[in-house]
């Protein structure tokens, strides 16, 4: 196995590790193994190989993505707000994005049990193993932190000089450590209190909620320019001491503005002390207990639940919507898997939640200073803000691609052994099920909220947007590779061709929205548009399902 730079760096600290009870030689070996495996992340196994060599670059690509996101926090530094406020927002973005990455991408690493079965029978103790895992995570997290914070670092240094650079860099290390330790401690508590299947569910929901919160928060940050007129004076309040962003923002006030008030100094001390405290807590609490409690993830003594009412309801709708028995079977099948599989939910639910929330964030643009709530609502009902629903359309459309993914993608061999002469019922059943289970309820919910705010005059628009959404959905479906549902593994990060399709769907959605807007100004424009869109979507539906087995990837 190759040598890695990280290992050489760690060698310098080998005595520190030894003294704290970690077997350095073993630690080094395990880390070397993990890094080697990472550099060879095996591509998903399917016949068409245009994804062949991309996995080495996947991580680098995701770094680009993170840098792009980091640009927003960088831009904040340029605004004319007080340093404390700006850095609060900047570090806020960085911390939230880091935590979401930590939770969604690295949870699997942190909570991996399979590895224990390979390594524990060897003379490796739990402490060494856990340390190896954490170092591994911190290593990647640091790269990601640099990518996220890079823009801010550069912009800030250009504006404020070397002092900024040094402080920020040091803080990045502290922030990184803080995020890792904090998340691990959180997980330890969850693991200690709950167990088995319940635990996995809780972790899953936790992940989903946090991802959603992050998405929303991130969007709100984008509105900071609207709100900047409101937030000018910063009066120290006691609850500021609880905000991690405040801790990390304070040293900048201290160093760059020479603000030596007790408030700022207190917060700066927190910035240094709290990561160290969490490191100590980590060593005391997590390291001894984490690995033991992890075993709980293996024990599933749960009894199944039979929710018969829902099942009856589902089977009735299945009967209504599906034309053949086979189709109905796949409808049911999709309902079951999509409803139960955690990993799929983790990928899907945040997008759904985001889709629901987008229109309202769009509506925030209606807020002009100095108006009352009633006036703002009047703004919204008169204005085109309900077009925010098109964002919902985009988000929902892109979720269709998740249908071909599953954690247990290896189970897809079963498709090949079934006596089906056409793959059409599979696709039809699955797509219908997906639409019924996720798309329609979400759209209904969101549009009702919009109607409540904007008034009933937008109802025809809502109907039109629904028809247009079907068009976008089918468009994405039709242009995707024809892959059977639940047939491939999740990509470690986003992959190129998917992104391309998403951009294309942006254009289509934009075009449809544009047409909608123009036609809405004519007297019968809307009705005509609804008719046209409905016809187009029906035609698209028909043509999407002209499939035979040889056109399908499986």
């Amino acid at each position: 196995m190759k040598e890695f730079g990280l290992l050489k760096l760690l060698d310098k600290f080998s005595r520190v590790f030894q003294r704290s009870g970690v077997d350095y030689r073993t630690l080094r070996l395990i880390l070397q193994l993990k890094l080697t495996i990472d550099s060879r992340r095996v591509p998903t196994a399917f016949a068409n190989n245009n994804k062949g060599n991309q996995d080495k670059n996947n991580f680098k690509r995701s770094l680009f993505l993170y840098t792009f996101m980091g640009l927003f926090s960088g831009i904040i530094i340029v605004t004319p707000l007080p340093i404390f406020i700006k850095l609060n927002l900047t570090t806020g973005i960085i911390i939230f994005l880091l935590m979401s990455t930590m939770i969604s991408d690295f949870s699997t690493v942190l909570l991996d049990i399979k590895e224990k079965n390979i390594l524990l029978p060897k003379p490796v103790d739990g402490k060494t193993l856990n340390t190896a895992k954490v170092i591994h995570i911190i290593y990647y997290l640091f790269y990601i932190t640099l990518a996220l914070a890079g823009p801010s670092l550069i912009i800030g240094s250009l504006m404020y000089g070397v002092a900024f650079f040094v402080t920020f860099l040091l803080e990045l290390i502290l922030i990184c450590g803080f995020v890792v330790f904090f998340t691990s401690i959180l997980y330890t508590f969850i693991l200690a209190i709950f167990d088995g299947e319940k635990l996995k569910d809780i972790i899953n929901y936790f992940q989903i909620v946090l991802s959603v919160a992050i998405l929303i928060f991130y969007q709100l940050i984008g509105r900071v320019f609207n709100l900047s007129e409101l937030v000018v004076v910063n009066t120290p309040a006691w609850w500021h001491y609880l905000m991690p962003t405040a801790w990390f923002a304070a040293p900048f006030s201290l160093i760059l503005e020479q603000d030596t008030s007790a408030y700022i100094i207190g917060l700066s001390i927190a910035a240094l002390a709290i990561p160290i405290v969490s490191l100590i807590l980590y060593i005391k609490l997590v390291v001894p207990h984490f690995e033991n409690n992890l075993q709980k993830l293996n024990n599933s003594a749960g009894k199944g639940q039979t929710d018969s009412f829902r099942k009856r309801l589902h089977s009735k709708t299945a009967n209504l919507l599906c034309s053949s028995k086979q189709e109905r079977l796949f409808y049911q099948f999709t309902q079951n898997i999509a409803g139960n599989e955690r990993k799929l939910k983790l990928k899907l639910y945040p997008s759904l939640a985001f889709a629901a929330v987008m229109p309202f964030i769009f509506m925030l643009g209606a807020f002009n200073n100095g108006q009352t709530i009633a006036q703002t609502i009047q703004n919204i009902s008169d204005g085109p803000y309900h077009f925010g629903l098109y964002f919902t359309v985009i988000m929902l459309g892109s979720t269709v691609q998740l249908l071909s993914t599953s954690e247990n993608y290896r189970g897809a061999w079963i498709y090949r052994t079934l006596p089906l002469d056409s793959p059409v019922p599979i696709f039809k059943g699955a797509l219908k099920s997906f639409i019924m289970k996720f798309i329609i309820p979400l759209y209904l919910f969101t549009s009702i909220m919009v109607i409540l705010i904007a008034g009933s005059r937008v109802i025809p628009d809502i109907i039109l947007i629904f028809a247009n959404m079907m068009i976008v959905l089918l468009f994405i479906f039709k242009t995707s590779k024809r892959e059977l549902p639940f047939y491939k593994d999740f990509q470690f990060t986003q992959d190129g061709s998917q992104a391309g399709r998403v951009f294309l769907s942006f254009f289509v959605t934009g075009a449809l929205a544009g047409i909608h807007f123009l036609l809405s100004m004519l007297s019968f424009g809307l009705v005509a548009n609804i008719a046209a869109s409905t016809i187009i979507s029906v035609l698209l539906w028909r043509s999407s399902f002209k499939l035979t087995w040889d056109k399908v990837s499986y």
């Binding site: 196995m1 080697t36 079965n117 075993q295 024990n299």
Partner: protein, 264 residues
Amino acid sequence: MNQTGEAVIKISDLKMRFGDNEVLKGIDLDIYKGQIIGYIGPNGAGKSTTVKLMLGILQGFEGEIRIFGEDIKNGSVEYKRRIGYVPESAEVYDSLTAKEYLTFVGELYGIDNAVADAKAAKLMSLFGIEDVYHSRISTYSKGMRQKLLIISSLLHDPDILFFDEPMSGLDANSVMIFKEIMSSLAAQGKTIFYSSHIMDVVEKISSRIILISEGRIVADGTFDQLKEMSTEGSLEEIFNQLTGFNRHKEIADEFISVISEVQP
């Protein structure tokens, strides 16, 4: 079988529970050098739990487990250097080559990299798979993986071996080689824990058979001793009798009749 000296493994009143479920209800066991223990029992009886506890993969048991005279609860992992394990689930790091994996394992056990490499290469060639020494394990067939696992469990010349269905996937020739290896190891004074559901193999190779059922040991002795305990002839039948199972014909008949029912 001669039982000379100290017990290599000494288990006293071992109990283990998962939540409300008491999986092991008080196991007492003394294992000596040179014994090949056929460790058998129905599914869920507690076989793999016992093994995992001994290996330190699971924690939280009551009672005492002493390996090489040391209480494993004291947290030291030194005893693991002298243990080899072939798990049933055949988990390996697929994306590595055999060379990388075996040298990694060897180094974990404290063997020098070059020494481990040489040993591993030779063992691979003895098993007939030297061609794939530098290929990724993900490309291996089931039989090749199994051979790799066996090698990885023996590379460091351990004194105790835990084999769980070690011959699954091996062809008849390799099976014969493996059986020979096991009896030579035992003759050298190594101890082997052999767990399997294939009764005729267990019957032939074990010097001592331990049957565990519902968390307790229900039989412990040589095959001949067991035959005296029960009225049956083969180990399979003894197993059935001692675990209170005699409905196999009934169940099989019902199974067939359900399958061949006319579709409504």
